[in-house]
Symmetry: D2
Subunit: 396 residues, 4 copies
């Protein structure tokens, strides 16, 4: 068999602790290895029609869902081209690297961006949103576009807070949310929060390989599309949404990923969504306790905004975080997330999301602790112990 491991020689499982793609459960991989079926046959429609409402349920949404063969970057593009026209003005945030990349997509489609500067270590501050919206007297802003969980910084922004700010400002803009690294890991209330377009992908909390992305859409967003002049075909909601009723896609769907999605949703439902989220929260807290002990910093400086799916770790000056990562990959066969953009070399990121549990986390933190020690960061012993003491004390 072709070897797809992460180092040349070694034994045991690779620890894939980047903040996505995540460790895919065997059950999901096995489901995905079933033979592809005819996407125009009756069994395919059964499959799709079973999935759509369960996806809605995951997002606590009542609107339509567009599922795409494609990465989440495509779902960003889909959100834009289906609701906006070149020249439309939108509110975006300089809150991290994925916010920046999303802004890049918006720029390419000719949007005019009003950018709210943020401290990357603090994330989006809702009062800044409110004041920006109030300042937009002519209500030219067509959309507010915010990342729920910023994978580069390990910060979770409050979408409820965004909605409150928009309501306080009485602004009718659409609310678009990137939930790529929160979906399936944190509670998400599309309807309650008044989210108009949610962007998500398969390869993080949803526990699938990459290749499936989606939009969860409000009626308001769909209606906005009627007047949107952006060219669109592959990402067209008008083409995709009939699938919600018929079970058929406008072009060949990623059938085997849909098998995987069915199995992943079943696993989440068996565990119970509340338990899934509590588990993410518990494991994240254990990670933060280890970070506190090690001679490094949590990049997120606002404790209540610390992400439950990823922790971004700031290494001391003089240490290259990528060297730490390389040591850990080489010695302990674990992949950690690299620092992105301006954070290159300054941070590494620990993914603790998806198909994950206490002992996988303990192995993960152990690898980090040893890697920090080998990298000469002083006083890093004891982090794992702190995490274990916390975890041992948590009933669940």
């Amino acid at each position: 068999m072709t070897e797809f491991s992460s180092r040349s020689a070694g034994s045991g499982r690779h620890f894939l602790q980047v903040p996505g793609p995540t460790n895919v459960p065997d059950r999901v991989l096995a489901a995905m290895s079933m033979p592809t079926i005819d996407h125009r046959g009756p069994k395919f429609a059964e499959l799709a029609l079973d999935l759509i409402p369960r996806v809605r349920g995951l997002f606590n949404a009542s609107g339509p869902v567009a599922m795409y063969p494609g990465s989440a970057s495509g779902a960003w593009e889909a959100g834009i081209v289906n609701t906006l026209s070149p020249g439309d003005r939108v509110l975006m945030f300089d809150s991290g690297m994925f916010a920046t990349l999303w802004r890049g997509v918006a720029e390419r489609f000719g949007l005019e961006i009003e950018l709210v500067e943020c401290d990357w270590r603090k994330g989006v501050e809702p009062d800044r949103v409110e004041s920006a919206l109030r300042a937009d007297r002519p209500q030219r802003l067509k959309s507010v576009m915010v990342v729920h969980n910023e994978t580069s910084t390990g910060i979770t922004n409050s979408i409820a807070g965004m909605r409150a700010a928009m309501d306080a400002a009485g602004h009718p803009a659409l609310l678009m949310v990137d939930a790529v690294s929160s979906a399936g890991s944190m509670e998400y209330l599309q309807d309650d929060w008044g989210v108009d377009v949610t962007i998500a992908g398969s390869q993080k909390g949803l526990m699938l390989p990459p290749g499936l992305s989606l939009n969860v859409i409000s009626e308001k967003a769909f209606a906005a599309g009627a007047g949107a002049a952006s060219h669109r075909s592959y990402w067209s909601w008008a083409d995709a949404l009939p699938s919600n009723d018929t079970g058929y896609f406008p072009y060949t769907p990623p059938t085997n990923l849909l098998y995987g999605l069915k199995e992943a949703l079943a696993m989440m439902e068996e565990e119970g969504l509340a338990n899934v989220y509590a588990r993410h929260s518990r494991l994240a807290e254990a990670t933060r306790r280890a970070v506190e002990v090690w001679g490094v910093e949590n990049f997120c400086v606002i404790p209540e905004k610390s992400s439950d799916s990823v922790t971004t770790v700031l290494v001391p000056e003089g240490i290259d975080a990528d060297d730490v990562r390389a040591v850990i990959l080489d010695r302990f066969d674990m992949s950690l997330g690299t620092g992105l953009g301006p954070l290159t070399g300054k941070v590494f990121r620990i993914g603790h999301l998806g198909h994950f549990n206490e002992l996988m986390l303990a192995g993960t933190l152990s690898g980090v602790e040893m890697g920090l020690e080998i990298s000469g960061i002083s006083g890093c012993s004891g982090g794992v112990t702190a995490a274990l003491e916390y975890l041992a004390g948590q009933a669940h």
Copy 2:
């Protein structure tokens, strides 16, 4: 285990004989079930850098390759937005349903289409191309866009003929070719034929599940992109092509499908590409011999254009081809391709491509023969026998 079969109760393997997705080999499915790896780690780059030249080799191309998480419809879009601007004029052909769908994409991106009418039972006639190009004195046509193997009609158009026509007319337009249902099933000579953009997908001759699509690109096409005003982000070649040198993608790649591609290419290389193509040709000929005996018609009326990957079968007046398909699915657990667009109800399609051999074909043709008989089409016995006699006589 969740059941993903094509009928409610039954035994044995489903025969997936639509002209794609095709029967995925166990080796490919097993490769795809290996754990996802970090797409920013060194092993991923090794994987991608191994694949790129082998994909080029499959198309006999020397230019860059863009691989996308997405369906082939996206690769159509990619070809357009990377080379053309809204308002550009292109030459397209009314040669079948996929040509029609592609035209729809072109229209959505604001292209002005000069359409060459064709007889769907005859496909594209190169002399019509030459005359159309000669008529374009100001050389406003920016691109000639043709389907190599029209999956809806079972007709293979000559790309060498297209090139000859373009050369004869001395026209500098780009040549874009949809090779979705020919790639991996028929010899394809990108460089020799002077193809500028090839569009292909994973789920047909490449023997993978759907979800990966690609462009194989000439330098001329890439250069054309510099001045192309179409908005693009997800499909941007400028973003994608550095992967040819670095092995890294601009966004999360479909890692497990790339595992599958590696295995599928290995299988094709083990068999030998010439043998792969000869096998497709042999099995297609056997299919046509069965069709001749049954009381039905090959939709393609020009024998040398009959496709080696799919045969479109025209049923007698008064019979609904979808009823025949339904009988075959219900009784014999085989999926055949439906008639598309204007051919709905008039034809069904037999896919004989990908991971396929004599006895799978014999089972396939047997299912058709029994289904025709049950559907009351007279005199359909003997088709399988004719196919077997042909196959038994073919050394290989």
Copy 3:
């Protein structure tokens, strides 16, 4: 990936049409690829305790079941060493190669064998049984040992007839039955037929890979074991049977094969056992109709004893059946069963059991028909057509 195909180069699925091992369903293979669990943990007991009654149900038996990691040959041995002592006299039948091999096992364990000669083309005749038992005035015969479905000859012996003969003779011997190639393919009524020990294995009608075998046991047989002097350890029922109540095995069980068994039983239950048996019967009849047309003979000369799981085909004098098999393997990637023992070179065997359906059979028969033609057997055309005509006419 390591290549485990049956020929060096080629495409498409191998047709594994030996009469076992059979084509394992993807669902079963996927179930077997789940991680091995602790065989002393609570989840293992749940698994085993779920399986035992379902296995009993398959055999319509009420007694205990011993499941072994091992081939069916071991389950022969188990039946002997748990009920008999060296020097015990048993009634066996010269009815085919597996009967002969079983006799060899009996001899090695010191049994004294009274052999009933049979015509291999006719199988066991119950009246011969009755007369043999009546002749045993002192009732020294401890066991009657008969093969239900003789895999070498394609003949199914009537176990109801055996029981009737034993009852008519008023003989108290145990009745041991080899159901290796009937289990899961034909109705089997252990209690009604008064069978004391049934021997079966995983790799035929049960649709699993080889490696699991079993005994289904009557109380009478278990009681006989108390006085049986044969040495036994691995196969000891006394050690194995507590598993029926506790779910735990006396030594490490074949956990992943048990996963497969659970899935295979689920598949049979979904289809419905009556449907499973009707399918085997239907596909066997189609095979026999093809054989009648080809210029070869069904080895079984008593039509009502023709096996529903395997057809043994006698080739004309002057043809080596193994040459025919070699041609078919080489040209069409299909494995057929070889002639065993005295039948070497004279017959080949077509397995039509397990995970199998009409189109798989059509492919199988097509491969045979082409192989016969290539081998120069005259007049073999038309067999497939006869089979298809029969199948098309069968409602199901």
Copy 4:
């Protein structure tokens, strides 16, 4: 998909840390999911003939190999019935539970056992062997039967020492060695140590699911079989050994497990056997360092005999080790080995063998540390830290 996990609800991978079955690598599971092939066809022989010498290599042996569908208990039986006769006298050791179980098999086959009492916490002392053999003036002892690595106690006995003792005593008995939990985890020198029969199984260091077992045989042992009066059929070497030359088995082989064996051997060869053994040694030492810190004892009291594949942990008086195991299974989804026989409730066992690495071990030890703490064992913190400090300091 049927759920085969070890607890009812939860996420992440189960930690299967019993000392076998071990965590099966994905590559092995994928290889085993390939379709079963004809065991009488040419490709099967290729597979088997490739495996035999590689198995020999693993044991540094030059003699024949018998591979069985069956558990290792069967390979014990095979060693006995192929070399000995009822009434033969053998030397065995009361050194642990598996030695005891093996003795049970020997008794059932009528062997007369001379038992050397041992301290289970110290294992077999070679000088006791020498004196026992010297005492056997008439050289009636036919075989010395010793467990290499006693899985119940975590003690590795020196086979070189056994050979030296036998040579010193000038005794011609056979040397039979149970290597079930050492094979693939520790260097094994069959020829150098003069081992006559080695017993091994698939589900420990060989990284396969259970169901395959084997004997590696010396010429002397094979010759002994000629005069051995034990009844044998399934386990008969005379039947099995021709497979070493032909590649064919006397009955249906466990084909898919052989696929797995091929992949597992490839993995071990890629890592390098010396590296495999060094890794086991390193991870075992780390485990012992954790045990030293926790308020528990290593059951093995002779440091140089501590096993590299399993550590048996003695819990303090008043604590039921099975309660500790239950807590760990329930809270942290990890299976540990139970105490066997007289050790029930007094010890638990940590398997650290097979497909295993530093971070899997760290997770394992973390689960134990938390479980001990929850169980109220005082002062158990710091064990993981000690292990990590050791591991971080080990270059490899």
